[in-house]
Amino acid sequence: MIAAIATPHIRILAILPEIVLLGGAILLLAVGSLVQRQLRARLATVCTLVISAAALGVSLWQWADVSGRGPFTAVDHAVVVDGFSAFVNVLVSCAIFLTALVADGYLRREDVVGPEMHVLAMVSASGAMIMGSANDLIVVFLGLEILSIALYVLAAFNHRRAASGEAALKYFILGSFSSAVFVYGIALVYGATGSSNLAQIAGFLSKNVLASDGLLLAGMSLLLVGFAFKVAAVPFHMWTPDVYQGAPSPVTGFMAAVAKAGAFAALLRVFVSTFGVLRTDWQPIIYALAIVTLLLGAFLAVVQRDVKRMLAYSSINHAGFVLLGLEAASGRGVSASLYYLFAYMFMVIGSFAVVTVVGRRGDAAHDIASYRGLARRQPLLALAFAVLLLAQAGAPFTTGLWAKLQVVLASVDHAIPLAVVAMVSAAVAAFFYLRVAVLMYSPAADVGTVPGVQAPAEDARPLGSGAARAAMATEGDRTKAETQSEPLVGIGAPEIPPTRPVWTGIERNVAVLNRLNASLLLDGDPVTLGPALGTAARDSGETLDVTAVRSAGPLKVPPLSAAAIGLCVAVTVVLGFWPGPLTSFAHHATLLFLP
């Protein structure tokens, strides 16, 4: 006779946004395998847009419910629904909508047909939502892992790029290392307080004064290390530039927006709300973290030549700003951090949408030289990128200014040196944003001819021939290796010795590729293309694989990407002129904070 097991009552509304995203993802995966190949790409994008819009609607419904009836906990107090969690859900739903728009153009361009990228992005986003609404440390951990495991796969998504796999492996090793540290932190906090539930931990801490709190402090610091890895705060930021550079560009934007939002949401809830009593213990640590994060992020971004790496370091700098709001440990600080995350989401997804477009086929033209004279070729794209970069720098009439202003105002009350450091880092950061903006508008020596030249250059290359296309279709490394020297011979660089098998040196191709793209843009002449290829390949002592030769087609802006960029710019500028609604949204989200 088996006794009945008491199961908790589950209030569906509490986890409805997550259910919509996860259920939608599974549905899309099932439907996607049933329809024809030609329909699949379009169907996946449309489905993702509908699902994310539904998740957004449900999140807003949650918000209305919480505003009317107040916050509550559900699923045996493991999940909390309050203004804070509803805010995070809205943010994540918007992020997935925009990412789906950007990913559509990317997937078509790279010939990666299938719903998998959208599915993984939705699963990952549901992890971020779980982190935002977790009321138990183990639920935070589960959310963190759902977020991260899907992101590891997304980082490795483009299997034709060696850099993508390398990024995934680095992210995976360091990410699971930080998760293990995080779990050990949970175990120690559980041992010290007797519970893993956030409300019970807070209750325990407010009633008891621990005679020896070494165990608790050790657990707290391990939790902080785990979070700091995920938000890329400085001593734990090593993975960020490589992963941001190697991952496919739409994924990088998604990662920067959603992983940061989810991890910061949990970090704010756990530290400000649960460990609020112990703020004198953790505030100095956050203070130090914020200072090094702000300064290192800004100064290292200045010396980068790859725009994705530059944006990676700038995201580290932004993480420092959000830490400012955490350090304040007040309602004002939390609402400033929330506002920052929301504004940053639009800026960073928009920026990486532009980077995706400029990266062109092969997703490799990310050297800063690729942006020279962009305004001549694509005036609207350049304008949008300039606005997004200026917003990240904190220019007036954008959300970037209000975001920076609020976190600095929150911290200036009690930590003036920190606010000063933040302003200095913002000034340094403005330099590298402006550098790209100025480069886009500077008339390059002979770049004016590029639009006319790009098309013939594309035709002149024999990669349009059946052999190369067949090689791509088989996707076999060996086939690539056998055919890879043909295109080179065809364009007048027969002196390249077929030295090593191509799969031993694929990662070098990224460097070769960047140089190749640079030389393409600077020379702009199809005749010089062959020698440029030859020298680029000879310099590195490596052979090029087909992926390398394929990149740098003409610069096309897919309509959906244009819509995503337009939306991001519109939100950034409109809410910059009219900051009231979002500010009060973030403020109310903080007021409805539980407990």
Binding site: Y152, A163, G165, A168, I173, V183, Y184, A187, P241, E507
Partner: protein
């Protein structure tokens, strides 16, 4: 001599440190995976020990969550490794240096 909870906690701490050091100094990706597993299982041992000390079954149930997550993580990790090292001869992390800045 009886073996008290402090022994289990110490053993867990030692295992966790060994795992952490292993991830930092070993260069073979598969060995790094094993070290991460060691760290997770050290956390599990800590959970179980505290659960016995506190007389609370909750801590032991948390172990199942960690086990499942660890399994999922390994599946994805090995998938990534296979995808990368089909192109390469060995699984040495130092050879992955295509990106620098």
């Amino acid at each position: 001599m009886s073996i008290g909870p402090a022994w289990y906690l110490s053993l867990a701490a030692v295992l966790f440190s060994l795992g952490a050091i292993g991830v930092l100094i070993r260069r073979n990706v598969l060995v790094m995976f094993m070290c991460i597993e060691l760290m997770l299982n050290a956390a599990n041992l800590t959970f179980v020990t505290f659960s016995r000390m506190l007389g609370d079954i909750g801590g032991q149930s948390l172990v199942f969550f960690v086990l499942v997550v660890a399994a999922a993580e390994v599946v994805v990790g090995l998938g990534v490794v296979v995808a990368i090292f089909r192109r390469r001869a060995n699984t040495t992390a130092d050879d992955l240096h295509g990106m620098k800045g």
